[in-house]
Amino acid sequence: MSDTPNNSRGVSVQVRGLHKSYDGQEVLLGLDFDVHPGEIFVIMGPSGSGKTVLLKHLIGLETPDAGQILIGGQPVQSPELMDQYRMAMVFQSGALLNSLTVGENVGLYLSEHRLKPPDEIARIVSEKLEVVGLKGNEDKMPSDLSGGMKKRVAIARALVIEPQLILYDEPTSELDPLSALVIAEEIVNLKERIQVTSLIVSHDRDLAFGVADRIAVINQGRILTIGAPDEVRRNEDPLVKKFLHADFKRL
């Protein structure tokens, strides 16, 4: 199911037998899954289950010990991949460049690749910041922002790329419920507007069951289940049930 390069729609992701270990400790134990073009795919699992490591492999920041990742049919380590497909990642911490203003951070991709003239970049930056509810904050420094605001700026920075594949690492952590809802709506809007493929790593069950086309539950480097939200909810695996139904009321 390899896609021919197409710049206006999402790309597929195929993960085959992915293994990774650090200092002898196995983190990923042979993951296999497909993400279809334009799909919102959420990976859930407890802390330390290998979700963020998986995301870093998907965008080529880490090299697997074994196995393969194909983006649009091409290996993720292929040097041409980044030129062929537009991909973005929203880091859990935001990972804004602290020496640049908010506006410069959001417009960095366009200015560094010289894709637009400065006034056009300023307009796009303002537009994307408005999407995440931060219009008018262009001249602030990241150190002036709260954790949640940094996350929203990071999302605006990803939106500027008009990505075909967008990876979110805990997009709603540190956000209040209203801001989380705004982000969730934007994830769905993006899918409808540019058919982007979205891969989300999250603990947030509300987000996962609210936006996902399919959900995978991962634990200790293995996938426990993959399916549509309803299928996952009905899954009888005790670990899946325990994770999905963990509740403070039980205390």
Partner: protein, 245 residues
């Protein structure tokens, strides 16, 4: 330090390949240039003036005592331009600027800013290393040229003011002109150019391999400065051997 030499060579080569992109990064080059040059100027001035003065003070009375007073300018001029100005200024810049480079890039590494650049298809070598390497490779030789002149002036002032030496300014500079040729100054400036490359590559590399939190950044800064100084001294010996021929 030496186990990373291969990685440093690869980083240097990657930066050389990125040189055609320097014009694109000119604003960052100017920022770094200002930081390295302008902000270090006063320090360079004080250091080189007193180094020149100390050399005159140490050698002047001895030479005068042996009837070799006409050589004071030459000894001071030669030692400053060929050895002391390039090495001392490079060590100063390794401490001031190399540490800043390692700290800034190291903190970007720790706080995932460099990973964010990679995900935007912005190579850290082009964005971070290239402007720093170009700026220091231009500014350090300029600073050393300035340091040589100020060092000579310091030597001359001490030679005139010290009663055990008692030279006049014209006598000092006449002796200096007899002993020092333009190629000697060029020799020292060339050395400083090589030292600048060493400082930039060692410090940026150390920043890029930073792991851990604030402690990791601190460790990287220390390593960047110490490794730069050690490599500067080793390169100084090798360059002196080559340039003496």
């Amino acid at each position: 330090m030496f186990q990373n030499v291969g990685e440093m060579v690869v980083l240097f080569w990657a930066t050389l390949l990125a040189l055609p992109l320097t014009w694109r990064q000119r604003h960052k080059v100017f920022d770094q240039f200002f930081e390295i040059g302008n902000a270090s100027l006063l320090m360079v001035c004080i250091l080189s003036f007193f180094i020149g003065g100390v050399i005159a003070l140490q050698t002047g009375p001895l030479l005068v005592e042996r009837g070799l007073g006409s050589y004071v300018g030459g000894v001071v001029g030669y030692s400053i331009c060929k050895e002391l100005a390039p090495v001392m200024m490079s060590i100063l810049i390794a401490g001031r600027i190399g540490s800043a480079m390692a700290a800034e890039i190291g903190s970007m590494q720790v706080y995932q800013e460099i990973e964010a650049l990679r995900t935007m298809n912005i190579p850290p070598v082009n964005y971070l290393v290239l402007p720093r390497l170009v700026a220091i490779a231009i500014s350090l030789p300029l600073l050393v040229t300035f340091a040589i002149l100020v060092g000579w002036l310091g030597g001359a002032c001490v030679s005139v003011a010290n009663s055990h030496i008692g030279l006049s300014f014209p006598a000092f500079f006449s002796s200096l002109r007899d002993a020092v040729e333009v190629k000697d100054v060029a020799n020292g400036v060339f050395k400083s150019f090589i030292f600048a490359l060493v400082i930039a590559v060692v410090s940026c590399h150390q920043g890029l391999i930073t792991r851990g939190g604030p402690r990791g950044i601190g460790r990287s800064v220390t390593k960047a400065v110490v490794n730069s100084i050690v490599l500067i001294v080793i390169c100084d010996y090798l360059l002196t051997r080559i340039l003496l021929k």
